[in-house]
């Protein structure tokens, strides 16, 4: 299933995950956390991993030009 639009959507999702990771690391975001203050590095690392997975998936979804 290769298409440019899917690739772009996954790329955008990756960027969103990066932003969320930064917000968790800075302690700005407190959604679904065990404590309500301070940075949440575990959540941040998770969203970095999700971002990497999204970028990889975006590259897989990108139509390849025939050599």
């Amino acid at each position: 299933m290769r298409s440019n639009s899917i690739a772009v959507a996954l790329g955008v999702l990756g960027v969103v995950f990066i932003v969320v990771a930064v917000l968790y690391a800075l302690g700005v975001l407190q959604i679904l956390t065990s404590t309500t203050s301070g940075p949440h590095y575990k959540h941040a690392v998770l969203f970095v991993v999700l971002a990497v997975a999204s970028f990889v998936a975006a590259n897989f979804a990108r139509p390849k030009t025939a050599v």
Binding site: S34, L46, V49, L50, V56, N59, F60, K64
Partner: protein, 277 residues
């Protein structure tokens, strides 16, 4: 504790269940509700993850290289590239569920009775996995039966994601991570030994990741770090020996003995806890 965790982590008998049950049954002065309990267990898990990294060091080099190559190219061409992507797909559900279910799981840690109950459930699951597997087997000898099943690289992406999600169940004390992932691998059509290999490879990033983010909390908690580190080393040594044994055992062995052990151990623990022995 280190030896117990390391020895039981890779066996499909739930190290976490044993780590909650055994101190309680032996009246060890270990507070399971203490904030340092989970980070301590995670430190022991780091010992296990190190042992797995040592055992699979050559494979991990190939897997990491395969991951980078396939990610950049946007295509999988070799078995190692496919395995790398399968591990990524399998790791994500466990990581997501682990991070977001952490609080709920920590409250469950405090109850040995629940751990004993989950241990019995774990045993039933092991027996169930083998019962389903037997239906798909052909041939009389174990070698012949196993020869019809696949290598870890051949598992489907959907199955890898499902096996990965099942890993999250292992955050419940009493449910074995290796048991549930080996069982999932068997249902996905892997040979026993390959299901064990996939399970061990899948466990490494989650255990390492969880460990690395918990260690700073452990350092802050004012616990005897040297003692804990020694326990982690012991855990690693026991895990190394266990993994070597299991990979040999699963050439022809099954999950059944571990299933029966979990049921009996869970029942015995419940009885001991009930009569406060």
């Amino acid at each position: 504790m280190g030896l117990l965790q390391g020895a039981s982590e890779l066996f499909p008998v739930s190290s976490l269940g044993h780590a909650v049950l055994v101190p309680s049954l032996l009246h060890w002065s270990f507070k399971q509700s203490d904030p340092s309990f989970v980070p301590f267990l995670v430190l022991l898990h780091l010992g296990t993850a190190t042992a797995l990294l040592v055992i699979y060091r050559e494979q991990w080099v190939v897997i990491v290289r395969g991951f980078v190559t396939a990610a950049i190219r946007g295509q999988m061409k070799t078995d190692s590239e496919r395995l790398a992507m399968l591990l990524l797909v399998g790791t994500i559900p466990a990581a997501v569920l682990g991070v977001f279910l952490e609080t709920r799981i920590k409250t469950l840690f405090a109850s040995p009775t629940e751990a004993a109950g989950f241990l019995i459930l774990n045993g039933l699951l092991m027996l169930g996995f083998e019962a389903l597997r037997r239906r798909a087997e052909r041939g009389s000898s174990r070698t012949e039966q196993e020869s019809h099943f696949a290598d870890a690289e051949r598992i489907s992406f959907r199955a890898a994601a499902l096996v990965g999600a099942c890993q999250a169940l292992a955050f419940l004390p009493g449910i074995s991570r290796s048991g549930i992932t080996i069982g999932g691998g068997l249902l996905a059509g892997l040979r026993h030994q390959e299901a064990a290999r996939f399970s061990f490879l899948l466990a490494t990033p989650v255990i390492l990741g969880a460990g690395l983010v918990e260690v700073p909390e452990l350092l802050k908690s004012g616990v005897p770090i040297a003692e804990y580190a020694a326990a982690a080393v012991l855990s690693g040594v026991a895990a190394y020996a266990s993994a070597r044994f299991l990979l040999r055992y699963f050439r022809s062995g099954r999950l059944d003995p571990y299933g029966w052990y979990c049921i009996l151990a869970g029942l015995a623990a419940l009885a001991l806890l009930h009569f406060s022995l």
